[in-house]
Assembly symmetry: C2
């Protein structure tokens, strides 16, 4: 079925790990070529949009579909992000990280840092990173965003705290915490920390609060790790910048 | 492994479809008995909490674990909900409804109404309802809530609009919409409408807006159906009532 957004919404949007300068020709292969040739069914002469996942966006003119897709870079620009969300997250249970990553990517989180907490370790991370990369790229395409969720290697709280200074806002997602800021206030880097499925230890909570992390309550209910991460990303998406994606063209989805 | 919440958090919490009056004895079987006897490992003399999913909550004294669990109802009360969220949702793609239902239940949505939209139909619903019921009960136990997400049979927009009058707030989740209300403002019934994966038709949008639904923008990105539903539930959870669950006892999760 032809992608309905191709008819009425913004042009098709793909991820290319490297964007050539304007004027250059490129050959697109693999998943993105399949998406263009089989799902969206682009034809020679049509225009598509592409991003490198790092804010670089380009308009591509399709030269040939074989089913590899040959394109010429018609124009290229670099976007700058005015606000970004970084999530330090303890391990959720089982395979729940997979869809958490998809949803964090769709909601526009910049980075996920898997946090090795006292009461919960991330396991088999290397085997899952390739899958997460694919999910993050698919979500980026879906959400028409020029930025791709970056999943960093797992680290301890000590290592993460060494990078807390960069953040303007520091949120500790914790039951009973205060209300997070309302819409329109997210600027710079916000770090949100979510505990593992068994929760943070008292010592971990103390260290985070000493480093300026403020308790933020997301619900009167007890949320799973992945649900809390997703909820804070949804709140941030609603409070965040409004003009950094391709979606303003009016896709059918909310 | 013993549930860590049993040691430091609130007492174990189970779902019972019918709660007997105080003083009566009950035999718990099936999934909930398994949870109590194998996961939490309750013992005779201990106390657990239970809910019927409709605001009824009880304290139960464990009499015997065989592994069926015999209990005596020590006390029983009925909670009243001051605010509730009802979601009218077009069909997401594939199996994405499963985890959407789990997350809506965890975040405390009251009802999900599968909306048969012009551009998207819910399929094989009957075969999935039993699974959804189990997911909603598990999420209720997890989130320590006395209310269970209710999943209604699928219906057309016409049928749903006939029940719109009950709602104080009516949100149409749509790209480019205004900011949803901030924390602390959710009272009464809020209805949030989310389009199917191919979006609402112009005619559907017109009808919803004529019935008082206000466009609410959740993100500058294009969100999938299930992501939009989850995002609005997260915003509502943050804006909603704070004292209607068991979680105030201080579980380790946010």
């Amino acid at each position: 079925m032809r992608d309905p957004s191709a008819a009425s919404g913004p042009p098709s949007f793909v991820h290319l790990s490297r964007l050539a300068p304007a004027g250059a020709t490129l050959v697109i292969e693999g998943d993105e070529a399949h998406y263009l040739s089989r799902v969206v069914r682009v034809r020679a002469g049509e225009t598509v949009r592409a991003s490198d996942g790092g804010g670089g966006v380009a308009t591509l003119e399709v030269l040939a579909v074989t089913p590899r897709v040959e394109v010429r870079v018609a124009s290229r620009e670099q976007r700058v992000r005015s606000a970004e969300l970084e999530i330090w997250c303890g391990a959720p249970e089982g395979e729940r990280a997979d869809w958490m990553i998809e949803k964090l990517a769709e909601l526009g989180a910049a980075r996920l840092l898997p946090l090795q907490a006292e009461r919960g370790a991330w396991n088999k991370l290397e085997a899952r990173r390739e899958r997460w990369e694919r999910l993050a790229i698919a979500a980026m395409r879906q959400s028409l965003s020029p930025w791709r969720l970056e999943v960093l290697p797992p680290a301890t709280l000590d290592a993460m705290l060494a990078r807390a200074d960069r953040a303007g806002a520091r949120w500790l997602c914790q039951p009973g915490g205060g209300s997070p800021p309302g819409p329109g206030v997210a600027t710079g880097t916000t770090i949100a920390v979510v505990g593992p499925s068994s929760g943070f230890s008292d010592a971990e909570l103390k260290r985070l609060r000493e480093q300026g992390f403020t308790d933020v309550g997301l619900s009167s209910r007890r949320l799973r790790t992945e649900t809390a991460a997703l909820a804070i990303a949804a709140l941030w998406a609603c409070a965040g910048p409004s003009a950094d994606t391709e979606a303003s063209g009016g896709a059918g989805l909310s």
